[in-house]
């Protein structure tokens, strides 16, 4: 049962940023994640700052210099259904379409999807864990089948977003407005690992609002896809997944981006695997070497070793299908 909170609906991004900068304030986009957290008592809100008075943040438009601008309030359904996204950035359309369920995709926004809180059942449940200010990561000795195999310690969440790995594989940038002005950053510098900050998943400061996501012009010869493996066919997060973009020229890989989901506290890029593909045709040898390289350094917990085989399997399957 929700506890009482104040509700605000500012009419400008600046006003929203100022309102959201107050202690105890939370930004509300589609609410599919925030309201769940509040209802479950994961954290509390004194005030909720709705972005629904900012229609300019909704929608997809062509960037004059090529590429697309995706407003932070664009729903996942609109991202997945956009013809330009489907045509030029299939990895993103597929990732957005693979999230949650139709109802949630109609309501949930892409900005909220990047900022959603982790799904770790200790964080979400009645456990006073590290991420909530406690002193234990319950996953370490507990039920860690769904936890991370890379980048953990001292907290072993996985980042829940499906769109984040796709956007990272596309080298997306974010426009952010805070109480003291705006900035644009590469998505690759947005996420933080628990060793840096165990209480937050990204670098947003209090009051900072993501206003848009910028995609560069599509590369010629690029093929991309998002592959997600989950326990059931919908309404489920990734056990593991991969956003893969390969640029082919003359039958060889000229550039590759592989970003994994469901395996680390942030979308997890695997440069070694990418490098192994560069300059080679996508043949069985290259694929299996890259798949093996992707899981190098994995550090499984007691119940999630399967994720190593799973990541390899996903990459073998997806790279072969891009060949």
């Amino acid at each position: 049962m929700l506890r009482a909170f104040a509700y605000q609906k500012p009419a400008s991004v600046k006003a929203a940023a100022q309102a959201a900068a107050r202690p105890g304030a939370h930004i509300l986009a589609g609410g599919t994640d925030l309201l769940g957290c509040l209802r479950d008592g994961v954290f509390t809100a004194d005030s909720v700052v709705s972005l629904s008075g900012l229609p300019a943040l909704k929608g997809i438009s062509a960037n004059p210099r090529g590429g697309l601008r995706i407003g932070a309030l664009t729903t996942l359904a609109d991202v997945a259904g956009d013809a330009r996204v489907q045509e030029s950035y299939p990895v993103l359309a597929q990732a957005a379409a693979s999230a949650a369920s139709p109802q949630l995709r109609n309501q949930g926004t892409i900005g909220g999807n990047l900022c959603q809180r982790p799904r770790c059942w200790y964080y979400r449940g009645d456990f006073h864990c590290l991420r909530k200010g406690g002193d234990t990561c319950f996953a370490v000795g507990g039920e860690n089948e769904y936890h991370c195999i890379f980048g953990g310690a001292p907290c072993f969440i996985v980042h829940p977003s499906d769109t984040a790995p796709a956007l990272l594989a596309l080298d997306a940038r974010l426009s952010i407005t805070g109480p003291r002005g705006s900035r644009t950053i590469p998505l690759s510098s947005f996420f933080v690992l628990p060793e840096k900050n165990v209480r937050a998943e990204n670098i947003l400061a209090a009051g900072e609002v993501i206003t848009e996501i910028l995609l560069g012009p599509p590369q010629t010869g690029a093929r991309s896809l998002y592959r997600k493996v989950r326990d059931r066919g919908a309404f489920d997060f990734a056990l593991a997944g991969a956003a893969v973009v390969v640029v082919m020229s003359d039958g060889k890989v000229s550039a590759a981006r592989i970003v994994l989901s469901g395996v680390a506290p942030a979308p997890w890029r695997v440069p070694e695997a990418e490098n192994l593909l560069a300059g080679r045709p996508l043949d069985a040898g290259a694929i299996s070497q890259a798949a093996a390289a992707a899981v190098k350094g994995a550090f499984p917990l007691s119940k999630n070793e399967y994720k190593i085989a799973l990541v390899r399997g996903i990459l073998e399957e997806t790279l072969a299908s891009l060949a």
Binding site: M1, L2, W121, Y122, D126, V229, R232, A234, A309, L310
Partner: protein, 749 residues
């Protein structure tokens, strides 16, 4: 009262037709009032404080702060003398706990409740109650619970029941005679019933009369439970459970929250609603217990089973409950030498309750996979092996014959509809996705019986009131019962008013469970309709001065066969004068010297991704012998729902207990994974097999709800084996489990 053995139906005009539900409009439009929707004037809302620990003693409860909060009207706890009500029993039936007990044996046990003007105020107050707990050692897995020195859940230790042994013949001799032996250990996970409507009761007192609306499968069981605990006569306790959003066995009996709502309503002199959240429903109102089963089986080269031996342990939770699974081992296939030995283990978790085909689903997982393995060992088709071992008598009940037994027909007709031989011969594929098909058979251990008493009343205009106690738990009970009345009286469905599931206005019916409602209550409905019809014909005979034998009732008119006299029901002078006529029907006893069972055979085709361990169920066929089909639509609903639950059992559903803290990790609908529409194949086929059983009851019905789910999971597991050559002994087969299996086993490609 009507003769209770009328002739079986021949051609029917209403019964058997695929008619939409009589209450479809209310359900779809949202006008149906479920207990969760109910708002009474002046009603208070209650919320429950539950023990957050798996095992603890409540040292002190301080309500001071909570009582001062806005809207709070009352609290109730172990400190209130009226709440001193014994609840669970321990092993051996000794009382083990009270309504609120300071000794909490699992997460979620009730510590106190608050009644307030709004649900929000009640929850705010619950959070303000200060409780001091002494935490105690706990154990939340059955392997750990049965180890020496494990923390004791109950004073007597962790054995939930003494070993329960059944034996016939000599299994050792049987194994010695076998040409092939299999011995495997299977495990199944704890499942939560997860009905769409959570648990909720509304209680109101009018003087010393108690009225309770409850989301229940068994209003009469709730009534008698309340009457017993509150020391009241049945006439003063009225329980209503009309629109309700499912139970799957978890709502068969009285629950604590219903008693608590009644006590709070008395204490506050206001109506009280007590609803459980989804999370609470996961912890303390039932589950299908996890099971470990070791099954040993012997077979001769020609497919004759020589011996079956089952040892099993069920994980019951903190208070003993029934966990037997052995029924099908004793009964399904012809076998002279059978032994079962079953125990249960107590753990610090919520008590189990029946869940759709309790025990039978778990057993099927083991038995049907073992049958498959035996078939492979002797090089026989799995369908043929099952047909070979078909038997038409109940072997564990001294060879009592079944009035009908359609297992063979289910296997044959199902195989035909599925294209079994061709599908089995088709290449399994050696690419990414491996393909396989599987079959499993089953029976279900009940087919209904007395008591049931039903009244059918006639209004002066010829419209009808069907008055029956049975609850419609979402299965279409109201619809099929009204169709029987329409069949016998020739009135259209929209001229039938249905009164049901109200202990104040209808007569006793057993809880809707065990697939028993149709075979128990529909014969009483038919008998009542026929009783009314014969009275109606008598009135007409008098008026028309014709012998009653020559009269027939059709389309609201009574006419003489071959004659010209006729009269519309509304024009019967005697009816006009008395304005009402009533027929009463009773469920006749089942035939002596025989018994009945529903049977089924399920077929599945699956694909397994060799890289990722994903399983896709491509299609399923369910051939069901549940007797006559009363309504093809509601029947299919049951079958498709049963298959869906089977998919959940096989692939996705499991309670996860956090071993270090003893708390449930996935007590919500996101982490506890019931299948979605995307997990259920578009191609589901229901093949009704009607054996024209005219002996068991007067509607020739045996019940469909449970046999529609029993073998589904095992058919999927057998298809998985066919695809991969690897046995999945543990349910569910999640991708993580399958990856493990595929990396250990040698996948056929």
């Amino acid at each position: 009262m009507a003769e209770t053995t009328p002739k079986p139906w021949g051609e029917t005009t209403v019964v058997g037709k695929p008619l939409p539900r009589v209450d479809a409009y209310e359900r779809v439009s949202g006008t149906a009032v479920y207990t969760l929707d109910l708002l009474l004037p002046d009603m208070l809302h209650a919320a429950t404080l539950r023990c957050p620990h798996p095992h603890a003693r409540v040292k002190k409860v301080d309500f001071a702060k909570a009582l001062k909060m806005p809207g709070v009207r009352a609290v109730l706890s172990d400190a209130d003398p009226e709440a001193n009500i014994p609840w669970h029993s321990g092993p051996g039936g000794k009382p083990a706990s009270r309504l609120f007990d300071s000794h909490c044996r699992h997460e979620g046990e009730e510590v106190a409740v608050v009644a307030a003007e709004s649900p929000q105020q009640a929850w705010d107050a619950v959070r303000a109650i200060q409780v001091e707990y002494e935490t105690l050692p706990f154990v939340v897995s059955m392997e750990e619970a049965l180890k020496p020195g494990a923390p004791a859940v109950q004073e007597g230790g962790n054995l939930g029941s003494k070993p329960n042994v059944y034996s016939r013949g000599d299994v050792d001799k049987g194994f010695a005679e076998a040409d092939a032996l299999i011995e495997e250990t299977f495990t199944t996970s704890c499942e939560i019933q997860s009905p769409m409507e959570t648990f909720v009761s509304v209680a109101r007192w009018d003087g010393d009369n108690l009225m309770v609306w409850d989301s229940s499968q068994g209003p009469f069981a709730v009534q008698s439970g309340l009457a017993r605990l509150l020391d009241m006569p049945l006439n003063k306790v009225r329980v209503i459970s009309q629109f309700m959003g499912g139970g799957f066995g978890s709502k068969l009996d009285l629950s604590k929250h219903t008693v608590i709502a009644a006590l709070l309503a008395r204490k506050t002199a206001r109506p009280v609603k007590l609803a459980l959240s989804r999370e609470e429903s996961f912890l303390c109102v039932g589950n299908r217990p996890a099971h470990t089963m070791t099954l040993k089986a012997g077979v001769k080269k020609d497919g004759t089973l020589t011996a079956l031996q089952l040892t099993g342990t069920g994980e019951v939770g903190a208070y003993p409950g029934s966990t037997t699974v052995g029924g099908q081992v004793m009964e399904l296939y012809s076998c002279p030498n059978v032994r079962t030995e079953e125990t249960s283990a107590l753990i610090n978790a919520g008590q189990n309750r029946p869940m759709r085909a309790p025990g039978y689903v778990q057993c099927s997982w083991a038995l049907e996979q073992v049958l498959d393995a035996l078939a492979e060992k002797i090089g026989m088709d799995p369908v043929d092996l099952r047909i070979k071992n078909f038997i038409a008598v109940h072997q564990a009940q001294k060879g009592l014959p079944y009035t009908s037994a359609g297992l063979r027909e289910c296997l044959m007709e199902g195989a035909k509809a599925f294209g079994w031989k061709e599908a089995r011969a088709r290449a399994r594929g050696n690419g990414t996705w491996l393909r396989g098909v599987g079959v499993a058979g089953c029976l279900w251990g009940y087919a209904g019986g007395p008591p049931s008493t039903v009244i059918v009343g006639l209004n002066a205009d010829g419209s009808v009131i069907l008055n029956m106690g049975a609850a419609d738990i979402g299965t279409g009970t109201k619809t099929v019962m009204a169709m029987i009345v329409a069949e016998e009286l020739g009135v259209p469905l929209d001229r039938i008013r249905i009164e049901h599931a109200d202990t104040g206005t209808t007569l006793y019916s057993a809880p809707s469970g065990g697939s028993k409602t149709v075979p128990s209550d529909s014969p009483a409905v038919r008998a009542a309709a026929l009783d009314l019809k014969s009275k109606l014909l008598e009135l007409a005979a008098e008026q028309l001065k014709t012998p009653v034998e020559s009269l027939e009732l059709r389309g609201g008119e009574i006419s003489a066969r071959g004659g010209s006299q006729k009269v519309a029901i509304g024009n019967l002078a005697a009816l006009r004068q008395q304005q009402a006529l009533v027929g009463v029907g009773k469920r006749a006893p089942n035939p002596t010297g025989k018994t009945a069972r529903p049977f089924a055979a399920h077929f599945a085709e699956v694909e397994v991704n060799r890289y990722t361990g994903e399983i896709r169920v491509l299609r399923m066929v369910a051939a069901q012998d549940s007797g006559r089909v009363l309504n093809l639509l509601t029947y299919r609903n049951q079958v498709f729902g049963g298959l869906t639950m089977g998919i959940g059992f096989a692939l996705t559903e499991r309670r996860v207990m956090d071993q270090p803290t003893g708390k449930m990790a996935n007590a919500n609908w996101h982490d506890y994974k019931i299948p979605t529409a995307m997990d259920v194949p578009a191609e589901l086929t229901c093949v009704p097999v009607d054996m024209h059983d005219h002996e068991w009851n007067n509607t020739s019905t045996k019940g469909i709800g449970e046999p529609a789910t029993i073998p589904a999971a095992a058919a999927i597991a057998n298809a998985f084996y066919h695809a991969t050559g690897v046995r999945a002994r543990s349910a569910p087969m999640t991708p993580s489990a399958v990856i493990g299996l595929l990396s250990q086993g040698k996948v056929k490609g």
